[in-house]
């Protein structure tokens, strides 16, 4: 059963004020950071959003939990539509999903103790048991931190410990979905594994669904069930993780996978497959937006924009000449 359904979601950021827009007669005074994105996420599964910086994956995550108002589109969670931010239903709807923010230490207020940090959501939502200290201890135990960590401040934590506090805080309201934005960024490889194993254990114990936002493809392969690849705010490929890794259909996915350095000196690549860089959102290439970097681009790619279409059950790609 699908837990989260996103239909044609678009998020725009204004790039100029009203006066300048009028004076320059600009028709579109915005950039589309997320453009017409649709996907669904199933209960107790992990869905990964991958892409390079500026591809709109974080903006999408933030729009889902209501930190950024979407310009258009529909978000349904557990079968019910997203209520207005000012309505009384908002908090009830919102507390079913939680976010783990990107920077493990920077996302924790430096003036609050770990105990206050993880029980703050309970106070805001007026939820949970009366004894919030006991609840904080339970949450610390859940993420594998000693209970005396409750009185520490964020600067007294290592990166991995701060990440665990982030997990505990995300879980405080018993959400059904956790949006994890780059949960392993800035962590050493040995600690990365610990955090991912913890998230996996919690998924099994609590039946959580994860929306994993990351550019770290090796971990996506291990932890996610399905993935979507974003480029300039659009989905260019979606499908089951195993299939996409085995046979990527979109040339961008192929290039991303090929760009991963392989920790084996025998498998050195002699060339970089994708040249150039991601174009600006203000200046989207016409037709297929990837044709400027695509090694397989043909004339049609410069003239006709490809639609996201199904190439196999559960697999979609936005390419005239899919590789798989």
């Amino acid at each position: 059963m699908s837990l989260l359904e996103v239909d044609n979601l678009t998020v725009r950021f204004r790039t100029m004020g009203v006066v300048r827009q009028f004076l320059t007669a600009t028709k579109q005074p915005w950039v589309e950071a997320v453009a017409d994105v649709s996907f669904e996420l199933r209960e107790a599964k992990t869905f990964a959003l991958v892409g390079e910086s500026g591809s709109g994956k974080t903006t999408l995550g933030r729009a889902l939990i209501g930190l950024i108002p979407p310009a258009s589109g529909r978000i349904r969670f557990g079968g019910s539509d997203r209520p207005g931010r000012s309505s009384s239903a908002w908090k009830r709807w919102r507390r079913q999903m939680a976010m783990m923010f990107q920077d493990p230490v920077g996302s924790l207020s430096p003036r609050l103790t770990v105990r206050s940090l993880i029980s703050e959501p309970l106070a805001i939502h007026g939820a949970g048991p009366q004894d919030r200290d006991a609840e904080a201890r339970r949450l610390l135990g859940l993420v594998g931190l000693p209970t005396d960590f409750g009185s520490r401040f964020p600067h007294e934590l290592s990166g991995g410990q701060a990440r665990r506090v982030g997990v505990a805080r995300a879980l405080s309201l018993n959400p059904r979905l956790v949006i994890a934005d780059e949960p392993t960024a800035g962590l050493d490889v040995s600690v990365q594994g610990e955090i991912l194993n913890l998230m996996n254990r919690l998924q099994q114990e609590l039946g959580l669904a994860y929306l994993l936002i990351t550019h770290n493809l090796p971990i996506v392969r291990h932890v996610s069930d399905r993935l979507a690849v974003m480029y300039l705010g659009r989905l260019v490929e979606t499908g089951p993780t195993d299939q996409v890794f085995a046979r990527p259909a979109h040339p961008y996915t192929h290039g991303l996978l090929a760009a991963q350095p392989h920790p084996d000196p025998e498998r050195r690549r002699m060339t970089a497959e994708l040249s150039g860089e991601v174009p600006s959102l203000r200046n989207r290439p016409p037709a297929c937006e990837f044709h400027t970097r695509c090694p397989f681009a043909q004339q049609i790619c410069r003239e006709v924009a490809p639609e996201l279409r199904e190439i196999a059950p559960g697999r979609q790609t936005r390419c005239h000449f899919p590789l798989a």
Binding site: S190, G193, P218, D264, A272, S275
Partner: protein, 329 residues
């Protein structure tokens, strides 16, 4: 100048301690490192292992509370630790150039990159016009389109990947014999990272220089380096040619590090390998082997004996007393 020595950089027995209110922190202990001329040497290790302290020591840029307690650093056969101000100015930028992790903070935001690239050539007796031409040629070499017209642009007008290319171009303008690259791709996306690594490899061929490449990413080390040094808690635990080190790692820490890299776990798994335990507190470093507390094969003797380097092959050595049993197993 004396005739060039076959090793461009030779660090022997280097120890560095930081004075802190809570006591002396032993940041580096008896570090040996050799960079042969024309090779790319990688240093890999997790945060806090002393990578940055090591390169700061090489450039004599250590913080005020740091003291070198033992050892020597020979650059081109000359002792860096004994250099005076004039010699150091010649060393920094001239003999050794550096590419930092974050190109935005390494470049001056209020000067055009042309100005900055002319400035770094202050040693050359050339006209400014010639220096600008040299700068444009170098920008073109590192893959910046319309190099000449972009000299007047400021750092914020370039993307992250372009800025790092500019930083590399600036470093190479002085024709250094050693380039130190400190995590040069951490701030970049994978497709850009692959391009930068490719560029570094090409440039090394062209300029016949040596590169000291610092990273925590094993994939990049495997991709680029000829030799690798693995550091843990301020010590060199293993050093060797890149193939030997990746295929026959001798030290339990190197083995664990390689096992942990999700890119090396071939079978899809939900239980990723980790290294249990934590890095030792360097305020009171352990008396024996630094890795004992997290080592799966540690024995009582590991706690008391400081392990000597044990040879595993040509140029390949690891500091572990359990090597005979461990490698045979």
């Amino acid at each position: 100048m004396s005739e060039p020595s076959p090793t461009i950089l030779q660090i022997s027995d280097l120890s560095v301690a930081y004075a802190t209110p809570r006591g002396a922190v032993r940041a580096l202990a008896h570090v040996d490192l050799t960079v042969p001329r024309g090779e790319i040497v990688g240093i890999v290790g997790e945060s806090g292992c002393g990578k940055t302290t090591l390169i700061s020591a090489v450039l004599r840029l250590l913080a005020g509370n740091a003291t070198v307690t033992s050892g020597s650093i020979l650059f081109n056969g000359r002792d860096v630790l004994a250099m005076n101000g004039t010699e150091l100015r010649r060393l920094r930028g001239g003999g050794i150039a550096m590419v930092f992790q974050d190109p935005m903070t390494a470049l001056n935001p209020v000067l055009s990159i042309g100005t900055q690239m002319v400035d770094v050539q202050f040693r050359e007796r050339r006209s400014t016009a010639q220096k600008r031409r040299a700068a444009a040629a170098m920008l073109k070499r590192v893959g910046i389109p319309d190099a000449e017209s972009r000299l007047d642009d400021y750092p914020h007008q370039f993307s992250g990947g372009m800025r790092q290319r500019i930083a590399i171009a600036m470093a190479l303008l002085t024709n250094p014999s050693l380039l130190i690259a400190d995590e040069p791709t951490t701030a970049l996306d994978v497709t850009m990272e692959a391009q930068i690594i490719h560029l570094l490899r090409e440039l090394k061929q062209e300029f016949a220089g040596s590169i000291l490449f610092i990273s925590h990413n094993l994939g990049l080390i495997a991709e680029l380096c000829d030799r690798v040094t693995v550091m843990y808690a301020g010590e060199v635990v293993e050093t060797g040619p890149v193939e030997a080190l990746f295929h026959y790692p001798g030290h339990p820490y190197t083995q664990a590090l390689l096992r942990c890299d999700p890119a090396r776990v071939e079978q899809k798994t939900v239980e990723l390998p980790t290294i249990p335990g934590e890095v030792p507190n360097l305020l009171s470093p352990p008396s024996g082997c630094v890795f004992t507390d997290r080592c799966p094969i540690a024995i009582d003797r590991c706690r008391v004996t400081v392990p000597p380097p044990i040879a595993l092959g040509p140029g390949h050595a690891a500091r572990c007393i359990r090597i005979p049993e461990n490698v045979a197993a």
